[in-house]
Symmetry: C2
Subunit: 153 residues, 2 copies
């Protein structure tokens, strides 16, 4: 029987599992290079994340295995009455466990974490090619109010 999911802030020893989850993804598989241990670019990136306040990967474990993750960044700002916002990136669930409600549990954990950090807004963007994302975020009470622009430099 599957254990309850355990959530915690990732440590550097979890980096391979995070990268494995990111690289399994339909878009991530084209963008990432999965090796064990991960290459220096990824370990440097993890160190850089750790040097920032309030920018972490959260990992979800079940039966001792890391099966989901998301990046949680707390961003302070002036607009909206000075409300801090939580930004979510890189939401991923193990490919063998998709469709079982784990993604929803990841997002509920993110929303709860945002509330505890006194955020008044949770935000994320999702690639337009992810056909199933719209209903998923709608069901979590998100509003598709914005257009997300990106520019590679």
């Amino acid at each position: 029987m599957a254990e309850t999911l355990q959530f915690k802030i990732a440590q550097e020893r979890d980096l391979y599992d995070i990268l494995r989850l990111i690289a399994q993804d339909q878009l991530g598989s084209k963008r990432e290079t999965l090796t064990n241990p991960p290459s220096k670019a990824y370990s440097d990136a993890f160190q850089n994340m750790q040097s920032q306040k309030n920018n972490n990967f959260i990992i979800a474990s079940q039966n001792g295995k890391i099966i989901g993750c998301y990046q949680f960044t707390l961003i302070y700002g002036i607009s909206r009455g000075g409300a801090p916002r939580a930004q979510i990136e890189s939401v991923r669930v193990d490919q063998n466990l998709r469709g079982s409600g784990i993604g929803r549990k990841l997002m509920l954990d993110a929303i709860d974490r945002a509330k505890k950090s006194d955020c008044q807004l949770v935000q994320l963007t999702t690639d337009k090619t992810r056909d199933d994302a719209h209903l998923f975020y709608d069901n979590l009470g998100f509003t598709a109010s914005h257009i997300g622009y990106k520019k590679k430099i």
Copy 2:
């Protein structure tokens, strides 16, 4: 004759001007409360921004007056080969100077600042009700590849 724009990282003494620009905006006018000095919520928010690494307002001045601003946040992450990304929020130009190309100069400054911070991606979201934003960001080489979801909590 209008001087060249001067860009710099905002200090707390610039907070009223930032708030004035944010509150002038079509959406900001409904969300913000402009007082001089700004209320404690805004000064606390500014202090919180200063406590974070790489999360700043950039202000643009001309003839000694602050006439534009944007929030520039450097976010490290693991996806996309561990590439750091620059996130832009709260891009604002003084209402008396709109349509004169200052917004474009703000964004070019942001892109340049992102390059100097070794970012490989610049990202932002814009409210779907901002009809003129699409062409503006297209012309700057951005791609409207994502849907931006927000949830108030």
